[in-house]
């Protein structure tokens, strides 16, 4: 008996709950296994989504896509010397079509390519493959521009796929959102959990949490129509829909999330700390600010990280309040976050085309960033907790 694990160490005993020395509880066993399966399936689902999204983006990561608008035309002799597979690709034919076509048809198609190349644009940029990483991340001096620039213009003869403006747009909007939401949500959390009397707390807490139920499309609508006009008249900036407006609207969506988590963290600080502080002659505010807040730092940090993740991933609000994808660090300029680009452009991108694949690449990027953000947040929270508990 003593060599066995204590009976409470394992919840279920043997297959179908049957084990010697225990009463069989097959129904409980089945329910337990069912719930276990459900919880594992959540992880599997997220994993499968990631696999799907990154698979669609894989040709971009591997540099297999070519977005050049003009490819050099080969003479008939050159074309005929090509290996069959290369020739098929050169003529943009499916294997089926290629098998059916005889030598005459092939020759005609090669002639056609030569003819059409005469009519193609003579822009030097048309020969570029803009899906290469150097073009995705680095600046380039396009025809008609006076200096190298970062440009996201996916539609047109020449597809400009520089993702830097989108990254900057996402960060800019998210930082404005956090700068706006964190102080408000934290302040509200400290007030509700530490200073408000119980009767106020009873209605104030659910009221703030109710904001989380506000559909983001409604919030976006409100921001686009009401807040945009109001903020423009207050700050007097030139662009009506800009990163500042998007950030503030996004902040409204982030506040209830940060508030809920931070309030929980602050409320779960043992009352004995507060009593100790008060008994030493601190005011309620000093106890809240100097004892409770530091003790709740892991939870507050988690709230901030989750808030940032939510801000990065939120789509509808930024889609409705952002416009042009220009690269600018000023919050009063227009911005277009990654999420807004994906939502707005994916429906119009050619299936399996380079634009389509780049949008998936952006999705993968977003997924990876939010995932690692949460992971880092988790690790930091864990460390902070250990330090507070005196274990590290």
């Amino acid at each position: 008996m003593s060599s066995e694990a204590p009976s409470f160490a394992r919840r279920s005993h043997g297959w179908m709950g049957i084990k010697r020395g225990h009463r069989a509880r097959p129904l409980e066993w089945i329910i337990e296994k069912g719930i276990q399966l459900v919880s594992y399936s959540a992880i599997v689902m997220v994993f499968l989504i990631f696999i799907f999204v990154s698979r669609e983006a894989m040709p971009i990561f591997l540099g297999q896509m070519d977005s050049a608008a003009v490819r050099p035309a080969l003479s008939v002799d050159e074309a005929m010397k090509l290996p069959k597979e290369d020739l098929r690709k050169y003529l943009d034919m499916t294997p089926d079509e290629f098998v059916k076509a005889d030598a005459e048809v092939i020759k005609m198609l090669v002639d056609l390519r030569i003819e059409s190349s005469a009519n193609e644009t003579t822009d030097k940029d048309a020969k570029l493959n803009t899906t290469q990483w150097s073009h995705l991340l680095g600046p380039y001096q396009w025809t008609g521009y006076t200096k190298p620039e970062y440009i996201w213009q996916p539609v047109g003869t020449i597809h400009k796929y520089n993702i830097v403006p989108l990254l900057v747009g996402s960060l800019k909007v998210s930082f404005v959102a956090l700068a706006f939401a964190l102080p408000l949500a934290l302040g509200a959390a400290i007030y509700v959990s530490q200073l408000a009397n119980p009767r106020t707390k009873e209605w104030l807490k659910p009221a703030i949490e109710l904001l989380a139920g506000l559909p983001s499309v409604v919030l976006g609508f409100f921001a686009m129509i009401v807040m945009a006009t109001f903020l423009q008249s207050v700050f007097g900036y030139a662009t009506r829909l800009n990163a500042f407006l998007a950030g503030i609207a996004l902040g409204l969506a982030v506040i209830p999330l940060v508030f809920t988590i931070a309030e929980d963290a602050l409320s779960s600080v043992p009352r004995s700390y507060i009593q100790a502080a008060l008994a030493l002659g601190s005011s309620r505010w000093q106890a809240a600010y100097k004892i409770v807040l530091p003790a709740a730092i892991p939870g507050v940090f988690a709230a901030a990280v989750l808030g940032f993740g939510r801000a990065l991933g939120e789509t509808m609000i930024v889609l409705m309040t952002s416009s042009a994808s220009i690269l600018s660090w000023s919050v009063f300029d227009s911005a277009r976050p990654i999420t807004a680009s994906i939502a707005a452009e994916l429906a119009e991108a050619v299936f399996d085309g380079h634009h389509y694949r780049i949008l998936f690449m952006l999705g993968t990027l977003l997924f990876a960033v939010t995932f690692s953000l949460n992971l880092i947040g988790d690790i930091v929270v864990h460390r902070l907790k250990r330090r507070l508990e005196g274990k590290a």
Binding site: Q275, A276, L280, I291, P294, G390
Partner: protein
């Protein structure tokens, strides 16, 4: 059973000296306390002397902890509490309109049943209390922290790890840290709410030793469930029952020759 307890008590009492008749610093007059409509304390009048240890004893729910918390107004934190009568500390009614609760709690320190060091370093635990009361200079902080830890008989054990977390200490050490924190701001009165009830016998013995040592400098009021502890550490004992003060006298008298039947029954272990 009762005889054995009494015999042990008597031997404990031999060690406690004759109760000194010092100045009275706490003066309760007709103090009543209500939680909503139920009355927890009934007309308590009591004078507590300076630089002695006064023990509050009584069965659970008799109001001894509630009374203790009246003395530094910790009951203010609970809703629906109403207090009648007066409670004077050093000739000032602490429930008067001109009293600053923060100032009061600086004068009347408290140690709780469950040790509650902050999740900070040992040093910062005490420094927090000192900074609240305007001590800011590093060397001044260092001095007072060392002095308080010595007073709480903890210095030798923690002097090499002042900057590690207070939560890493053992239960008894944590409680002594809380005592060090309370005495660091030099209160006049130190309230102790069953300070050793969660500790093992060795740690309890250390705390008791400390209590007897601290009464040189502070007026100590201690709530305890442990008869022997009351007999060992206190000079005066107050016995409460159902919200009333039944008997208040020198510890020697309460334990050897109580004037009320209820007190005798309780201290000899017949109920409670």
């Amino acid at each position: 059973m009762a005889e054995i307890t009494t015999a042990r008590m008597a031997s404990d009492l031999v060690s406690s000296s004759m109760a000194p008749k010092t100045k009275e610093v706490i003066n309760l007059d007709q103090l009543s306390l209500f939680y909503g409509t139920s009355q927890a304390l009934k007309d308590i009048s009591l004078k507590i002397r300076e630089n002695v240890v006064t023990a509050f004893i009584g069965p659970s729910g008799c109001g001894k902890s509630t009374l203790l918390r009246c003395l530094n107004r910790m009951n203010d934190l609970i809703d629906n509490v109403r207090i009648e009568g007066t409670c004077e500390i050093g000739n000032q009614n602490i429930y008067g309109p001109d009293v600053d609760v923060v100032e009061l709690r600086k004068r009347v320190g408290m140690v709780f049943q469950k040790s509650n060091p902050f999740p900070k370093s040992i040093y910062e635990n005490i420094a927090f209390a000192l900074r609240l009361h305007g001590v800011k200079k590093k060397n001044e902080l260092d001095d007072v922290i060392e002095r308080s830890l010595r007073q709480a008989a903890l210095w030798e054990e923690v002097k090499d790890r002042l900057h590690s977390s207070g939560l890493g200490l053992s239960g008894g050490q944590q409680q002594r840290l809380c005592i060090a924190r309370a005495v660091a701001i030099q209160p006049e009165i130190l309230l102790m709410d069953e300070p050793a009830s969660a500790l093992d016998p060795l740690a309890t013995a250390k705390i008791e030793e400390l209590v007897m040592d601290l009464k040189k400098d502070y007026t100590i009021v201690i709530v305890t469930h442990n008869m022997q502890q009351a007999a060992r550490v206190s000079d005066y004992t107050a016995f409460f029952y159902l919200g009333r003060l039944i008997e208040y006298d020198t510890t020697l008298k309460v334990f050897t020759n109580p004037s009320h039947k209820q007190t005798e029954d309780y201290v000899t272990g017949r109920f409670g």
